[in-house]
Symmetry: none
Subunit: 201 residues, 4 copies
DNA sequence: ACATCCGGGACAGCCCGTTCAT
DNA sequence: ATGAACGGGCTGTCCCGGATGT
């Protein structure tokens, strides 16, 4: 990244970073077990031989780093929304709308890589489970902070944020099964009702 | 196993049924790709040689039938709750509480087999995706019917039911990541707020 | 084996047996680590897909069974020599002479598979080490029995047999390094001297 | 490490020498194929990148130099024994006793690196085979010289020395298989009988 | 109808010995 | 003299058919 001063824009960058990007993309669609190292190599264009130089921990380490990257990428998007939205309700709507758009525009192939890795691997690899744990806590914290900004108590804000993060994950599951964005609207309704109740009460 | 009506004394039942039961159990914990045919054979005690006699469609067919069996098993539990609960709010609480109990008592190993298969396989096998689609619609229908019984309009009932089913799936994801039942409480709060708003409005 | 009634003599037999035979041959020349599963498949003509049906323990199990087969094959040869030789000294000479012939005729490629596996794997796999332990004890027992038949005490016979088995293994090592049968002559001289001393004493 | 003459305080010595020492140690226990470059780097602490600067011939060259170093190290020990022992018989006993001690004290992990490389690589690399050839000739020469000093003819001395070197190699093999020092006693008996016969004759 | 042995490629993740840019 | 990077090959295991009984 640093030593590419005059790069038109389409050239290859760090093979290590390419691998993580490819992992994020493929895990989102096909899960951890459904993606092989060979797929990651093919998708990233990274050289096969240096995988275990960059990632001595193997596929699991790649996934951990992909989870971290995805965590920050999504966190940045949520934070941008939280900063730009005039009210909490608008912000929450943005969250569900944006996720629905991701699903629809990818023809329901792109889900949440962290969610799928959680379900597949939580019982098998504690390293992966721990990585996913941090992800949801991170996202929840951003939502809670925005909620507090609108006057909610820390307790209420945490609860609302937990409901939001969970509702998104669930909507992704049902939306992919039904090939429909409707679950996001349903989920948004629940979270919005909670937000209103907390504000009104 | 539990509803065996007149079995002389612990003898083997239908090997076909045993396989489906084993598949349900294993898929819930480790996902579709994480469970091999050998695991199913070992867990079910079914004869290895006749798998492709009973299930010509192979592993995918086993999963489809396991999804159908799980769909009906969970549907029966939800219907029992819907019939016994005095109010919609109590019923909704029961749903989240029961699911939380499943997670906690299995040390967060048992999730929802349909949810995990959805995320893993929706992009790969339309047969599996279609099976999961029916599952969520079925469960949602039961919840919606109970909501209508409490006076909600069909439109509101469907939305509330959709929020409920999605919130459960999402809570499972986050609960497994965090090894905590808290996400179910958060999710319940959102759904309850929506139910109250619909009743009050 | 059973369903090949009218087989001229050169046709394929049990693929399991073929694999073990190939393993014996290849391990003798190149050692355990120097021979891959692919080599065994190529040399034996056995089907690749059923290796782990016949040998669930993998390469190690193949080696254990190859060691057992080699043990018995050599034991049979030693026993034949022990039975046919008129005196202990003639028998001992036969042992060294026969082994020297194996080395020379194979251009010093064929050694003792058990010896090489011992040196390579004794510190890594106790299953393999234990298999080799039995091999040398078995061979030593045959030699000792022949020595007792010539009047040696059990103590002397065991010692002489131990010296013989060890001397053969050592002669194989040095002969392969020097591409010469001379080490067998030297080794035989030592063992013969011991036999004579025991008889004379 | 031990003979470091004027080293300020435990600092690193020649990385080239460290690599050879590590190779000797590891090859003795696990063989040539069983030791990887990474193991050598880890055990020696030498920088990974400069291996092919110091050893352009790669792993094979490292092994050749390790063989040469081991040859001289053992030769020095044998020569010391030959010089100090009052008689040929005492000297021979020392050889077997010392080797037995090496095996026992290392829990049968340390063998003769030259012997194992011979068996593994004689058919694959003539460079390695040739190196091992010189080793055994060197050791044999020292033993023969000591035997001549006790009055044996050059012919007898060479034969006795050959028997000795071979018997040691063989005893190492059997001792590692059986986790017992007994093979050294058996081997010593044979060689001692030969020495006595030659002297007496 | 039902069960079994065996066969069949393909590919999984991992690690090897080696070389390049500096 | 070296950290970074590389192509190839390792063992193990996958899901799945034929051939063969019973």
């Amino acid at each position: 990244v640093s030593q590419a001063p005059a790069d038109g824009g389409g050239a290859k960058r760090n093979p290590r970073e390419d691998m993580i990007q490819a992992a994020m993309t493929l895990f989102r669609a096909r899960g951890y077990e459904g993606v092989g190292i060979a797929d990651l190599v093919a998708a990233s264009g990274a050289p096969r031989g240096s995988i275990y130089f960059h990632f001595p921990g193997g596929k699991e380490q790649i996934a951990v780093e992909a989870i971290r990257a995805a965590t920050e990428m999504v966190a940045a998007a949520i934070e941008a929304g939280a900063a730009s939205a005039p009210t909490l309700e608008v912000f929450l709507d943005m969250v569900f709308t944006e996720w629905a758009k991701v699903l629809v525009e990818s023809d329901y192939e792109k889900g949440c890589g962290v969610g799928i890795i959680t379900l597949e691997m939580a019982s098998k690899s504690d390293a992966l489970r721990a990585a996913t744990e941090g992800t949801f806590a991170r996202w929840q914290g951003i939502v809670a902070a925005r909620a507090e900004r609108d006057g909610l108590s820390p307790t209420d804000a945490a609860r609302l944020a937990g409901a939001t993060i969970g509702a998104v994950q669930g909507a992704i599951v049902v939306a992919r099964a039904q090939r429909s964005p409707a679950p996001f609207a349903d989920a948004a309704a629940g979270v919005q009702a909670l937000a209103r109740a907390m504000k009104g009460g």
